[in-house]
Amino acid sequence: MIEFYRVSKEYQGRRVLRDVTFKTKKGEFLFLTGPSGAGKSTLLKLIFHAEKPTEGQIIVNGMNVSGMPASRVPALRRSMGIVFQDYKLLPARTVLDNVTYVQKFLGVPAAERRRRAYQTLRLVELHHRLAALPEELSGGEQQRVALARALVNEPVLLVADEPTGNLDHRLAGEVMKLLQDISVRGTTVLVATHDQELVKAAGRRCLTLDRGRVVEGLVEAALPSQAATKRADSGRVERAP
C-alpha cells in the first residue's frame, strides 16, 4: 500500500524528514504521530504527491510517486481517499455534490453517483442530510461528509491529516471508530494526529516522527505499558515513545 525507502525532504536547506523508511500492509490501520512541526503533514503530502521527496523512493498503491509526472497525479489521488483537519468541503455545494463532485466530472451517471453517495453517507450516518450545505452542519458532521467523500471511490488507501483536530472528544471518538471500521473492510488507513490519548485508546501500530526520523512502535489499547518497540522493515530501530 505505502512504501517509503530512505525518504528525505528538505525545505530551503532545512531537513524536515530524514531517511524515512516504512511499509504498510493491506487493511492495516496505523497512526502517524509527533509534535507539531515534526513533519507529519509533509509525510502525508509526499504520499499524495503534494510535495516531492528530496531523496528516496515512495511507492503508493503500486505506483512510484517519487518521479511521477504531473499528468498522473490526479489518478494517484483518486486511488486513495484523503481527509483533512479543516474538512476542505466546497462551501457552496450540498453534501451530495461534495461527495460526488469528482465522480460527476469522471462521467459517472447521476443515478449511480446518487446511489454511491447514499450508501457512503449511510456509512457515516449522514444519508438524511443530502441536500444540506456544509455551513448547516456541525464540525463532526462536516468531517463525516469529508470522510464520505474520501470513501465514495472505495479507495484501497485512506490518508487522514488530523481528522479529529477540530472536534470535541466525543465526536473525535466517533470519527476514529468510523476510520477503524473502514480498515476492517480492507482499506489501509493512515491517520496523522498529535493526540496521544487517541493513539493510546486505539491501540494500533504507530509511526512516530521525531526530529524528522520515524520511530516505530505498537501501542496496545488499555495496556499502554506494554507498548512494544520493534524494528521497522528496513531494520532501522529506535525506541517507541
Binding site: P74, Y101, F105, G107
Partner: protein
Amino acid sequence: MNRPAALAALVSEAFEGLARARRMTSLSVALIAISIGLVGAFFLVAENLKSVVETVRDESTVTVFLKSSSTEADRADLERLAKETRLIARMRRVSPDEARARFSTWWKSLGPAARSLPGNPFPASLEMELDPAAVTSDALLPFLKLLASHGAAEEVQFDVEWIRRLHGAVSLARLTGLVLAVFLTLGAAFTIANVVRLTILLHRDEIEILRLVGAPEFLIRGPYLLGGLVQGFLGALLALALLWVVTRAVLAWVAATKNALLGVFAVRFLPASACLLLITFGLVAGLLGGLLAVRRRNLAG
C-alpha cells in the same frame, strides 16, 4: 471515463460558474459587446457605403453630347469605339426632341418655357451605360478622354473621380474596421481574461480541493476556458443585436425623412459573412481570454 457525460458535466459546470458570478459575467459580456459593436459599426458603415457605391455605379451613365454638325457616320464611329473598349454594357441614342420631352417631364414647371422657345436648344446625345466593373477599370479614363477628343463630341458628362473616392472611403472604412477588430478583440480578450481570473480567485479554494481529491486537470481548467468562450460568444451576439436595433432605427428615420439625398441610401444590415466574422472575433477573444486566465500560474493553489 464516460467522455460524453464528463463533457456534459464540464459544460454545465461552466454555465453554473457564469450564473454564480452573474454580475461580473454581465459586465464582461457588456464590455465585449461594446468592443465588438464598435468593430461591427465600422463594418456596417462600410457595408452601407458599399451599397451607395453599388447604387451609383449601377446607375453610371456616360453621356456624350453631340455637336449639331455631327453626322450619322460620327455617331456610328462613337458607338464602335465604345463597343471596342468593352466598358459599356448598353448604349442608347437620344434625339433633341426626346431630350426636350425628358426635360419637360423632369422639370414640370419649366416645361412650357422650353416648349415656347423658337428652336430646340437640346443637343442630341449618346447615353452609354457602364459595365459595373468599368468604374474601377484603368481603361475608363483614357476612354473618356478619347470620347472627349472626338470631333463629333460637344461634351462628355461623367464624374468618375467621386465614385472612385467613395470606393476608397469604403475600403478605408473596411480596413479601419479590420485593424480596429484586431485591437478590440485583444482588448476583449484581456477583459475576459481578467473576469475569468477574478472568477478563479473567487474559486481558489474550490480549485485546491478539486486538485486534492484527484479531479483531472483539464476538468479543473475546462469550465473556466469554456466560460471565457461563452462570454465572448454572448458579447458578440449582444453586439449584433445592438447593431441590428441601430440599423432598424436608422432605416425608420430614413424612411420618415423627406431629404431626397438620403434616397440613395438603401440602409441594410450586415451580411451573414460579416455577422459570422464578428461572432468569430467574440469566440477568439473568449478563447484567448480563457487561455490567458487558466495558465498554470493563475491556477496554482
